[in-house]
Assembly symmetry: C2
């Protein structure tokens, strides 16, 4: 590596040297705005998410949730990829706003950029621009990711109906032990799912399974009934439960930042899906959608209300 960048101009030059050109990017970083060329006929998806030092990542330190700069950058893009996945879109272009902590050495910002860029290449995302500033407070990163629909209807939160079956990908809970930095955004799964099945509704689990399921149920005007015995509880949730004294299921229900996908399928589609060798193993049937409002646990005594718990950014 050459000498560390000392000025904004140096850092931007360093970054520009690491970006590839793309035919779909007529003007990349270094002008007042980037120019990108979406595929003709595609609607554009737009999402933005932040990563704040001390909140979404802690640099260094001994804990299992401690991040390197690369992992912090990776997480910033991964969170946004998960949002595009939840709409069944193809991620395409990103711009990033990096507010740097002034006392951090330049390699920290460089590491963050490397983390973003490596994941961007993996998912075919072109990093087309950004903004850099510095202050005497923690790192504040925000990334805006564009995506394209490319022939598939975006899957909304509000599209599920009574009778639909409820699924979730992966396993839930305990992501704070490290998975929140390393999770796989379900971009390819979501795209394949929406290409083959009529998906009712879909949402990514960022604020906790119950809270995000609550969003989906509310937007759809329905009730969601969950068979808690079938919920895929992650090994991390079990490990974390030994540390917190809470039940592993609690962690699976309420922990944030799983970035798995909750989705629903009409009954016939759900049957077809169960027999899908390529996709079915990535998701678990955990309940169904019924008329009414709210979240319920299926019990031998009938449905019992579930309290919507999870993460509210202004309250917690």
């Amino acid at each position: 590596m050459a000498a560390a960048p000392r000025t904004e101009a140096d850092l931007i030059a360093w970054i520009r040297g690491r970006l590839g050109a793309a035919r779909s990017v007529p003007v990349g970083p270094g002008d007042d705005a980037a120019v990108v060329r979406p595929r003709p006929g595609s609607d554009i998806l737009v999402t933005v998410d932040a990563c704040l030092e001390g909140r979404h990542f802690v640099l260094g330190g001994p804990g299992p949730g401690a991040a390197t700069p690369r992992l912090a950058g990776r997480k910033l893009l991964a969170r946004n990829l998960s949002d595009i996945a939840a709409m069944a879109g193809v991620p395409t272009f990103a711009v990033v706003s990096m507010t740097l902590r002034r006392d951090a050495p330049p390699r920290v910002a460089m590491g963050m950029f490397i983390g973003i860029n490596a994941l961007a290449r993996e998912y075919g995302v072109a990093l087309v621009g950004g903004d850099i500033s510095a202050w005497d407070h923690p790192f504040a990163l925000a990334l805006t990711l564009l995506g394209e629909t490319r022939g598939l209807r975006p899957v909304r939160r509000g599209g599920t109906r009574p009778g639909h079956r409820l699924f979730v990908t992966g396993a839930l809970g305990g992501s704070i032990l490290g998975r929140h930095l390393r999770f796989t955004p379900r971009v390819h799964f979501a795209r394949a799912l929406a290409a083959r099945y009529r998906v009712g509704a879909m949402i990514d689990v960022s604020d906790g399974f119950l809270r995000d399921l609550g969003h989906l149920a509310r937007e759809s005007g329905v009730a969601a009934h969950v068979d808690l015995a079938t919920l895929p509880v992650s090994r991390d949730a079990r490990r974390l439960a030994r540390m917190t004294g809470r039940a592993p299921l609690d962690h699976a229900l309420a922990d944030g930042e799983d970035h798995e996908l909750i989705f629903t399928l009409p009954p016939g589609e759900a049957k077809r899906f169960a027999a899908d060798r390529r996709l079915a193993r990535a998701a678990t049937l955990v309940g169904d959608i019924r008329a009414g409002r709210g979240l319920f646990s299926k019990t031998p005594r009938g449905p019992e209300p579930l309290r919507e718990q999870g993460y509210d950014h202004l309250v917690v």
Copy 2:
């Protein structure tokens, strides 16, 4: 106004209630990502800029640069509008990431949103999504603005050639006295200019006239020669000069956040422009482009090098 929002969900609901629907926005705020529909055949412009409390704005206080929350929000969008203007684009869609200072009352965030939204309506921009979080540090806002080319080639920084004439809009310097919060982004001017004239290069003055002119000259591989006597020095620059003891011209050359446009025209086009009753009065001829590298002042003794001065976010 109803009761102040206490949770993220409340605040988002309050914001959603203030946003209009648009035919070009199939999915607005409230899903995992927004869906927007650009005009067919248009390339997409993308830019991002941050506004940081204590750096780009100070809330309250007695100084002339003190901002209300509305002005802080206004500035956040205005900076991005200026970037789209500098490419001769039409601004279209925006997403905003708001990181709130936890001890600030909800009306501060609401005021910021109102400031963004009012200017957005003025420029036909649809606010289609965002992300809200809170922490124990100053407000950190970042906004990503999309635009469309709509039949005009984007005007780059690198397109000017020896012989072109050099112009700047408005008047320069002293924006810290308040104009940095209230400036008019030159969106309509830039669009009209690029529709009628073959513009060589264009850039907006965010880091100071000389620094941004330096960017333009460097990207174009040319030298810029400025007749300092013709530079439009703002009344604010004169007022500020009385406070700082520096020359008004120094402020016009080096102060940041003017958000005027520097642009160049080939000689024939410049002549035509000078006779343009609608546009010419908005800009001043301040020099020309010559072969070579760097920035020069025209003097009776010939060209004298100008030091590129202004704002580097990591150094100052």
